[in-house]
Amino acid sequence: MITPEFKASILKELRLDDYEIKDETLANQIPGWDSINHINVISAIEKDFSVRFKSIEILKCKNIGDLQNLLTSKLAKK
């Protein structure tokens, strides 16, 4: 499940008013989330939730749902 806070963090960084994000949504399906902008979105999420992902953890994410799960697991450990 994509949480509203997680979604808000992505939308804010990409300057989008709204966009439907589901677990199976792929990053490049979201307007503005291209290969160059990728690090900006990841850095924004890390900053907003005060977490730090390992590179390999990010590379293993297949879709936004995986990234949400990674974030949830990091927040649980805090």
Partner: protein
């Protein structure tokens, strides 16, 4: 009728000067035979054994004993994939990954770059090491990259390793893609062994369309303008005026696209007839509105590979540096992309140019946006045209270094264009190279027409009967044979 058995047998033997090119009648004859057998034996397991046997023969015919290298790469990567997956410990997983990287890149570097490194050593440090006697196995850059993508994806938990060695080896050695890609991901290819593309009229129509289109692109447009015009100018650019040099640059830009995408179209079409949908490799690259966009349209399977396994890891690792992290990742990725294309400075310069274009565009994005808004052209037809025009010329400029035999030759091409343009020669060019002029015009015209025309052509192919499709294919074969007055030209991308 008397048939010379020895002559027939020699057709099946390794001959580096006579590989099984898709457009050769011998290939077409064998491939039709294979298709006939596949249509009788429906059991997929037996079909895949037949495909492996044909792939092994196809590679042996072009590369001889190097078939053993391909087999070795198959066995090693199959076992490494299992090693990564089966071990729970992260340390052991990493060990197997590293082993895979070292083995694969070691083989690639040895065969492809040893003599280049010797050359650098000799010129930089005044060394005097003789070049080693190394022959580069055909297609090595493609199948090693496929093998690497397989073990990377297992490490990144994108999919599990393949249980059957034979299925994995079919992925690695699949003959339509062995010499020049597409570099499909195992996760996309392997499931199709069990669940093949349905052999419907639509599949056949699309395959026949792609094969016919590929034949015309490669044999009619690319080969013809290459032999008759581009090659002559690039061999001795100083003997031609600037306008001819510029046209040769445009010619080469079209040639390399038609050559490579034409071969890939044929490969994808041939794959479809056997139940495999390989990934698209080109999407109207010269319609790109930026160099970054060009790489989303050109050699897609390579750019996806580089993005997944090189660009992203570097970029993510350097994300604290924000825009500079992106710039560094672009620089590393495209310098190595250049080197992947061949062991020579030309290719490195070509890759570096692409990197510089993209890094420049990264840092000037805001300024360019503001300038377009100030000039009130943002979002207009003119703005799009300008972006396509500039991108096309940046790409064409970089191809000069890719094509020229040496840096000096590339310089001469540019010098002629800048200092000795002589536009009045243009009518003479049209006169002297009329077929070249027509083919170049047609090639570019078709490229820049709306892409829905291609869909229209495909649906036309679906609506006509099999006999009609066969006539179109036969016509394409006949036209390419007519255009090929000399022997078949080797495919440009084989050497990479």
């Amino acid at each position: 009728m008397f048939i010379d058995i020895n002559k027939v047998a020699s057709l099946f033997k390794f001959d580096q000067y006579d590989p099984l090119l898709f457009a050769s009648s011998f290939f077409l004859f064998l491939f039709l035979g294979l298709l006939l057998i596949l249509s009788v034996i429906k059991e997929r397991k037996i079909q895949s054994f037949l495909l492996i046997a044909f792939s092994v023969f196809f590679y042996y015919k072009a590369s001889g004993d190097f078939i053993l290298l391909l087999l070795g790469a198959g066995i090693a990567n199959y076992l490494i994939g299992k090693g990564i997956y089966r071990n729970e410990s992260q340390g052991i997983k990493r060990f197997f990954l590293l082993l895979g990287i070292v083995l694969n890149l070691g083989v690639l570097i040895y065969f492809k770059y040893t003599n280049f490194f010797i050359e650098i050593y000799n010129s930089a440090l005044n060394g005097s090491i003789d070049a080693w006697d190394i022959i580069q196995p055909l297609g090595i850059s493609f199948y090693i990259f496929k093998a690497l993508s397989y073990i990377f994806d297992i490490y990144l938990e994108m999919h599990e390793p393949e249980e059957s060695f034979f299925d994995f080896f079919l992925y690695l050695s699949f003959f339509p893609a062995i010499l020049s890609g597409p570099i499909d991901r195992a996760g996309d290819f392997l499931p199709q062994i069990k669940n093949p593309l349905p052999f419907t009229n639509s599949t056949i129509a699309k395959a026949v369309f792609l094969i016919s289109l590929g034949l015309l692109k490669k044999n009619l447009i690319a080969d013809y303008i290459s032999i008759n015009f581009v090659e002559r100018v690039f061999d001795e650019p100083s003997r031609f005026t600037g306008v001819e040099n510029l046209l040769a640059v445009y010619g080469y830009t079209l040639q390399i696209y038609c050559d490579f995408s034409g071969y890939t179209d044929m490969a994808i079409g041939i794959g479809m007839l056997m139940g495999f949908k390989m990934m698209d490799n080109f999407n109207y690259p010269f319609k790109a509105v930026s160099v970054t966009d060009f790489w989303r349209r050109w050699h897609l399977s390579l750019s996806a590979w580089l993005q997944n396994y090189l660009f992203k890891p570097v970029q993510i690792g350097l994300r604290s540096f924000r825009i500079w992290g992106n710039a560094a990742a672009i620089f590393v990725t495209f310098t190595l992309c250049g080197l992947w294309h061949g062991a020579s400075y030309n290719f490195i310069i070509w890759g570096l140019l692409h990197a510089l274009f993209m890094i420049f565009s990264l840092f000037t994005k805001d300024i360019r946006d503001k300038a377009a808004a100030f000039l009130k052209i943002k979002g207009t037809w003119f703005h799009s045209f300008l972006k396509v025009f500039i991108t096309f010329h940046l790409i064409a400029f970089a191809w000069i270094f890719f094509r020229a035999a040496s840096f000096e030759k590339a310089e001469t091409v540019l010098k002629q264009i800048i200092t000795f343009f002589q536009p009045e020669v243009f009518p003479q060019f049209v006169d002297a190279f009329f077929p070249v002029f027509i083919l170049m015009s047609i090639g570019y015209l078709i490229h820049f027409l709306p892409s829905r025309l291609e869909l229209l052509a495909q649906s036309f192919m679906e609506r006509i009967t099999i006999a009609g499709q066969a006539v179109i294919l036969a016509l394409a074969i006949w036209i390419s044979a007519q255009a090929r007055f000399a022997d078949l030209q080797p495919f440009i991308y084989f050497q990479f």
